[in-house]
Amino acid sequence: MEMIKVEIDGQACEAPKGSTILDIAKANGVDIPTLCYDPRLSPYGACRLCLVEVEGARALLPACYAQADDGMVIQTTNEKLERIRKTLVELLVSDHPMECQGCSKSGRCELQKLADKYGIKESTFAGEVHEYDLLRENPFVMRDYNKCIMCGRCIRICREVQGVGVYDFINRGFKAVPGTPYDKPMQETPCEFCGQCISTCPTGAITARPYEDRGRVAALDMLRNACAYFKMPEDDMMKALGLEGWVTRTTCAYCGCGCQLDLHVIDNKVVEVTSPLMVGAGQGNLCVKGRFGYEFIGSDQRLTKPLVRKRGKLVEAEWDDALKLVAKKLKEAKKKTGPDSVAVLSSARATNEDNYLIQKFTRAVVGTNNVDHCARL
């Protein structure tokens, strides 16, 4: 791989050719603020927060978009850049309801973090603010465009990652806003309700509905607000409150893809599912099942013990007894009518390894090739 050398804030850096300035800065521990950037998406260059000064360049360059050239001398921070960044955040805040206390994104909101960083509580630019209706026409995605900062991340993730393209911008100028075709409710569009737009939205403009009407979400909001207020990382806050382990990293069990999940747990109940960015097979992307299909964990209808049919009725049993029964029945069938009278159907919800084992078991132990998998259906 061809390497290039650049200088960022006086620090000599080396990077593969084709890297953006932001890639190199991140790799070298230099923090450049961004809002419209998401590593899963094509660069966009709209929020202008990542503008940097490059020696000899005619204009400031967006670090997320501009590829670094060999020998580039880059400044990511100076008085002018910080002044511009402050103005940009102030402009965004001037059309944003700064009622963070009641916002479910508080504590994780990228705009809130920048406003904190630049010490902006309210904008000095008074003027018109948007007053859009809250859109909650479907059970999954809630949209509050009053909080939208026009970063275009929802539009790009829907088009580039999901390949669906439910959103695009409508209107121009100050009135420009993302929307569905003809402002249709999302259930009348090709939306799959994967919630990818929720995962990328930097503010509280697009949020998840499934857990919103449960009291626990209010508790979660409260905790996050406390985190934001005390400027304390969420994990530390949870530890301080004796709620350790409230985020559990696990692998999604819906299919064999292996997407990583963070289960947010309060009071031993899952209140939200997210996926860590750029980690594991999913790289932070989830489908509708992975993101929203977790109510079953706490369901009282969930099977927690094996059931054995006795006199036509299913009765709870111990695992050992149940497995013994299955083994006995399999042996009997094999003996009586031959191994090919047995067939095994395995599940896509099991891991690859488990599926491997079940086919090995079927072929080597039972002695038949009658093995299949539900994903064929």
């Binding site: 260059g45 202008r48 967006p62 103005t87 940009l88 402009l91 630019f125 003027g127 100028g173 100050f174």
Partner: protein, 598 residues
């Protein structure tokens, strides 16, 4: 309407562009056709594009066999019989209606044209734009034929470079250099785009060229396509120009028939074709990256550069984009030679530039002048000075991206560098002239409201920044300005200029910055004294009638929407300040200029 061959004593040509049609040329055309139907007149009828005489449309030019001609202005259907009877029938010129006579080109309003040097507009108003034969009769397509059959692409680029022509769309980048980049950019598939998405308020030269001489633009594109190695060209023309689109379609069809477009053109093995893409009315689509997004079928929103179109443009392929006016000059440059073009103009700005004179100038219309003319020459010698004999106050150049220059800058030469140094830009060539009744704060407010409306909304500084600037200006115009507003405007303008994604946002603060530079006292007057000296901002003025000059004609009474004006016939009238809403309708109607706004 077409000529029926040679041999007639006179040829009557009607200016039939959108401007002429808007002024009533269709009725004149019908009247002319009706009048000659009987064969009583020894005359040929023909149409042409716009001659650029906006101030006196509809325009008719009558040629005699000796090559002499007379241009008549303000022709109506009613005047047609008299015109034909006297001029064609009796050979008598109707002096009162004359705009220009070939015998005495400076007389009447003739100096509007004789003070110009027309290269881009050389055929506009002279040939029928719907006839490729008329274009070819005067040397059309000779340059393309010459280049394709006897020159290499590099030689064409060298000739264009030698001419020194710079992009006429606004940025003024040297055309030859740009073509060189596209030529050298690796790739078998390249595209050429003609930017005909003219959208600056007060700019209409591209429309006039497309309506008046579409073949020149096509010929320029054929040459450019050959030079850079593009086999497909696009003309991105706004849908608000239906006549230009119609004439382009006709011209492209004619070219296909003649073998000038399509496979193996001009008998060579080179192929080049042109498609027209209609723009749906977004100003920002004049920005090249937004335009390419629009051609690709996406929402017209700009992308950061680099990568530049020459490396990664339309569908990711090397692409070259030039403006209509640039393409229109290319055939002349190839035919006459780059050196001849470079002999015109100043050291760094060569050739001619078409300006659109609009606003409070006496003679509005198209003015093509050599680079190096002073603003005074353009506005006073060509434009005839200020309408109504008022005082010149400023000229807004380059539309919403440009700036306002005051009287002290009138001797600035029309030259990319000099105009930029003065604080404006040549831009696409709009010149909106303001007189002493124009409020400069209001003018800045107007342009900012335009850019705010037309912002695509992608980047933060343009979407919200220009909105906040606009709100401050609106406040000042309403007399609610605050002392710190000027600083606020200046700081915000600096950040918007530096941080915007494309030139629309980056240049949007310019009208505010130049008016602040040259007319700061007007801003201060609004903020501190709540006065609008130009008598323009409704919230800051009162209207009254000068009893000394009022003739009591009652014209004002008729137009007043709130019945605020009263008075006896032939006696001085008065305005009831309470009832008056300061719409200034009376001001525009008063024949004795007795209405005082202050």
């Amino acid at each position: 309407m077409s000529g029926n061959g040679d041999g007639h004593k006179y040829k009557v040509v009607l200016g039939y562009g959108t401007c002429g049609i808007a002024a009533g040329a269709t009725a004149v055309k019908d009247a002319l056709e009706e009048a000659v139907k009987g064969g009583d007149y020894d005359v040929d009828l023909d149409i042409a594009g716009c001659m650029g005489l906006c101030f006196t449309e509809p325009v008719v030019e009558i040629f005699d066999r000796e090559g002499g001609s007379v241009i008549y202005g303000d022709i109506t259907a009613k005047k047609v019989p008299q015109l034909l009877d006297e001029h064609v029938g009796k050979g008598q010129v109707i002096e009162d209606w004359v705009v220009k006579r070939s015998e005495d080109p400076n007389a009447c309003e003739g100096d509007f044209l004789s003070n110009q040097l027309r290269i881009v507009l050389r055929n506009c108003g002279k040939i029928n734009p719907e006839s490729i034969e008329e274009y070819m009769e005067i040397g059309g397509y000779e340059a393309a034929k010459k280049a394709l059959t006897s020159m290499t692409p590099e030689e064409v680029i060298d000739e264009v470079s030698a001419s020194g022509i710079r992009g006429r769309g606004g940025a003024g980048f040297p055309t030859g250099t740009k073509w060189g980049f596209a030529r050298k950019s690796p790739g078998d598939e390249k595209y050429l785009i003609c930017n005909a998405d003219e959208g600056d308020p007060g700019a209409f030269m591209d429309r006039s060229v497309l309506e008046g001489d579409p073949h020149t633009v096509l010929e320029g594109m054929i040459l450019a396509g050959f030079a850079i190695g593009a086999r497909q060209g696009y003309i991105y023309c706004r849908a608000e120009y239906p006549l230009a689109l119609k004439r382009l379609d006709i011209a492209i069809e004619e070219c296909h028939q003649k073998g000038f477009l399509g496979e193996g053109i001009f008998g060579t093995d080179w192929s080049f074709d042109v498609k027209v893409k209609k723009g749906a009315g977004a100003f920002v689509c004049g920005e090249e990256t937004a335009m390419m997004a629009s051609i690709e079928g996406q929402r017209g929103m700009p992308k950061p550069r680099p990568p530049f179109p020459a490396n990664s443009g339309l569908w990711g392929k090397p692409t070259n984009i030039n403006n209509v006016e640039t393409f229109a000059a290319i055939p002349w440059i190839i035919y006459e030679g780059g050196e001849k073009y470079a002999a015109i103009g100043t050291e760094k700005s060569k050739g001619t530039k078409v300006f659109c004179l609009a606003g409070k100038v006496r003679r509005t219309g198209l003015a093509e002048v050599p680079m190096g003319y002073t603003l005074r020459q353009v506005i006073f010698d060509v434009g005839g000075g200020i309408a109504g004999g008022r005082e010149f106050k400023a000229v807004q150049m380059g539309g919403p991206s440009g700036g306002c220059l005051p009287a002290s800058k009138l001797d600035t030469q029309v030259d990319y560098d000099q105009i930029t140094a003065a604080g404006a830009i040549i831009g696409s060539g709009g010149m909106i002239v303001a007189d002493n009744r124009t409020c400069m704060v209001d003018l800045a407010r107007y342009f900012l409201s335009f850019t705010q409306d037309e912002s695509c909304g992608k980047c933060t500084p343009c979407r919200i920044g220009t909105k906040r600037m606009l709100e401050i200006l609106e406040r000042i115009c309403e007399g609610k300005g605050e002392p710190e507003d000027i600083d606020k405007l200046q700081n915000l303008a600096a950040d918007i200029s530096a941080a915007s994604l494309c030139a629309l946002g980056g240049t949007a603060p310019n009208p505010v910055l130049t008016t602040l530079r040259y007319f700061k006292d007007e801003y201060e007057d609004h903020i501190f004294n709540h006065k609008c000296a130009a008598g323009s901002c409704p919230a800051l003025i009162t209207l009254s009638i000068d009893p000394e000059t009022c003739t009591g004609c009652g014209a004002c009474v008729k137009v007043c929407p709130t019945d605020a004006i009263t008075g006896e016939k032939k006696e001085p009238h008065v305005i009831d300040e309470e009832a008056c809403i300061r719409c200034k309708m009376c001001l525009s109607r008063c024949p004795s200029e007795s209405i005082i706004a202050e």
